[in-house]
């Protein structure tokens, strides 16, 4: 079992699916996260290296302050790589020179766990504060989006409140 930011990721699950255990991460975000961390689709959580887990935890703890990754240069069909004895510093320098600036990364704007729940709470609190219909319905514990209340409405009656759990 791997624990990342308080969430348990079972070993036997694919990493791409296990990441959806975080509140605020769905399948699309999980796919993008795996691509960012160079985790292939069929990688299980038990196959993740400690470096990948550390990177994942570091990224998820603060997505907005993560370092933007440049677009690395890719070999053309006629590219001949330099010999293997080339020093790493030289390779890093060349890669940096040829890397292109990264475009806007949608992953930097994601909010997970407590931040995501706070956003939902704040939105409902705002609706209540301005005295809107939506806010009143949340306060009464009734459906908000125009559903029938003569019958059904069980979920709204169970879950809707001003300090609704996200």
């Amino acid at each position: 079992m791997v624990h990342v930011l308080g969430v348990q990721l079972p070993d036997y699950q694919y990493a791409r699916f296990a990441l959806t255990a975080f509140y605020g991460i769905g399948h699309k975000t999980a796919h993008r996260l795996c691509a960012r961390l160079q985790i292939h689709d069929k990688c299980k959580v038990r196959s993740l290296t400690p470096h990948q887990i550390t990177e994942l935890a570091a990224f998820l703890s603060s997505p907005s302050t993560s370092i933007p990754i440049p677009r690395f240069p890719l070999a053309t069909p006629s590219y001949k790589p330099p010999p293997a004895s080339t020093p790493l510093a030289v390779l890093k320098e060349e890669t940096k020179k040829l890397s292109q600036r990264a475009w806007a990364d949608p992953l930097r704007n994601i909010k997970i766990e407590s931040e995501a729940r706070r956003v939902v709470k704040d939105n409902i609190a705002h609706q209540r504060m301005i005295g809107s219909y939506v806010g009143k319905r949340h306060a009464m514990g009734l459906p908000v989006r125009g559903q029938n209340t003569q019958n059904n409405a069980r979920t709204a009656k169970k879950l809707n409140r001003v300090d609704r759990r996200g």
């Binding site: 960012r36 990754i69 240069p73 293997a84 080339t86």
Partner: protein, 453 residues
């Protein structure tokens, strides 16, 4: 007493564990609970599970209990109907390279079984693996196209592999993968160095680790390279032990390998650390490309997958092209002639049944394959893929078996007791006509799916 038919064998295999013997009688549901193990049984009636959030009760799921039927444990299955060892009724000659002439056309020959069997070590395409599990012995029928392929291999053994880059084409189920296996066995028996990739889709479908490398500017696949190196050494060990490096080889964070080092020692560097495996594999193939002692066969099934878009994504979520992945790039370089073996050939087999990686336009045009749709000049062709597909030679596998070839196939399955009804000429001709002679349809949809009494 009749032994189990093929369909019953298939049903048993669904419950069998994965082992090397053809029929293993293991059924987990037959085992009794161990001593001291408490088996909890769900109580009858409505009993709810408390929902902590709302306080409402939910009905519990009822456990299934097998009251009337308790299967026998495996040790009590002593009836001859369950016997797994059957007498050998398939008396076939062995697949020997000297025998392969026009005389043995339409005859079924069994593949030899030895310690360094390339099938067992490299693996097989999925449909052929299932077929070989059903048959009592892996075998195949020698067709006229087999002799053509073998003649090409004999000619290629003296030439550079740049001049012998052949792709087997044909409709679905015509026998391209089988033909590639026959070529592989022939080369292995003739003392060639063989490298076989049974499922090239596994290189591009994001099932193996990938990592960006600054030096090669590609995404390395270290685990796949490591496994390929291991399998290559295991199959070709006696030949590789005779070869030595001809130039100095540099490997990252390792001292350079001097010329004259045995190739096996070079490969051991790749085994010690997986991250060196891609560089070592590249170097090994370059070295065996220079030597002229043994010809080399590079055989790739699902060849079209190398020319398709991969399922990998880079850090910015753009799709990674296949030639930016280390293993497909290596195979594409040998297939296009950018790298070559001094003696040998590159053989590929298309897979027309794979819808995830269909035949791309660039490869279709390079092989001059007909298509019912016409692609005009305004459809974009990727320049790099056109480059990689340039110079490939096509070997068309006939879409239908000839009657003698189909008769041999029928005889093999008949002797293996796969045909449920009485095997006679009428059944044979009926199934042959229904399949229009297509080998895959004849076996799977004709013989094995037959419900006639």
């Amino acid at each position: 007493m009749l032994a189990l038919s093929v369909r019953q064998r298939v049903a048993c295999q669904l419950f069998a564990s994965t082992s090397s013997s053809p029929l293993v009688q293991t059924r987990s549901y037959a085992t009794q609970p161990k001593k001291g193990q408490i088996v909890k049984q769900a109580s009858q009636g409505f009993k709810g599970k408390k929902d902590t959030f709302s306080g409402q009760m939910e009905p519990a799921k009822k456990d299934k209990k097998m009251m009337a039927f308790q299967p026998l444990p495996v040790s009590q299955l002593s009836h001859p109907l369950f016997e797994s060892d059957r007498p050998d009724t398939l008396n076939l000659q062995s697949f020997h390279p000297e025998m392969l002439t026009r005389v043995v056309e339409s005859q079924a020959l069994k593949f030899p079984h030895n310690d360094n069997d390339p099938f067992r070590i490299f693996g097989l395409p999925r449909n052929i693996l299932v077929e070989f599990r059903l048959l009592s012995k892996p075998c195949s029928v020698i067709r006229s196209v087999t002799i053509d392929a073998i003649n090409k291999l004999d000619a290629a053994s003296e030439k550079n592999s740049k001049e012998s880059r052949v792709v087997f084409t044909g409709p679905r189920g015509c026998g391209k993968s089988f033909l590639l296996l026959q070529a592989l066995q022939y080369c292995n028996a003739r003392d060639w160095l063989v490298l076989y990739i049974p499922r090239a889709t596994n290189l591009v479908n994001s099932t193996t680790a990938h990592t960006y490398d600054m030096r090669t500017r590609t995404y390395l696949q270290p685990i796949f390279a490591y496994q390929t190196l291991q399998r290559f050494l295991k199959v070709n060990a006696p030949r590789l032990e005779q070869l030595r490096t001809q130039t100095e080889i540099e490997i990252e964070r390792c001292p350079p390998v001097p010329p004259g080092t045995p190739l096996v020692e070079l490969m051991n560097i790749g085994f010690k650390d997986q991250c060196h495996a891609p560089t070592v594999l590249d170097a090994v193939l370059a070295e065996i490309g220079k030597q002229t002692t043994f010809p080399v066969l590079l055989a790739v099934d699902d060849f079209q997958a190398l020319y398709c878009k991969s399922h990998y994504r880079d850090q910015h979520f753009s799709a990674i092209k296949s030639y930016h992945l280390s293993m497909p790039r290596l195979l594409l370089e040998y297939a296009s002639g950018k790298k070559s073996f001094a003696r040998g050939a590159v053989f590929g087999a298309l897979s027309m049944s794979n819808t995830t990686f269909p035949l791309p336009l660039e490869l279709r045009e390079a092989l001059s394959l007909e298509y019912d749709r016409s692609y005009g000049p305004y459809v974009k062709r990727q320049r790099e893929l056109v480059n990689y597909a340039h110079g490939l030679e096509r070997l068309a596998v006939p879409g239908s078996l000839s009657v003698p070839e189909a008769a041999s196939v029928f005889e093999v399955w008949m002797k293996d007791r796969a045909v449920p009804s009485k095997p006679n000429d009428e059944l044979f001709l009926a199934k042959y006509s229904e399949a229009s002679g297509n080998a895959g349809a004849f076996v799977w949809k004709g013989l094995l799916s037959s419900m006639s009494a």
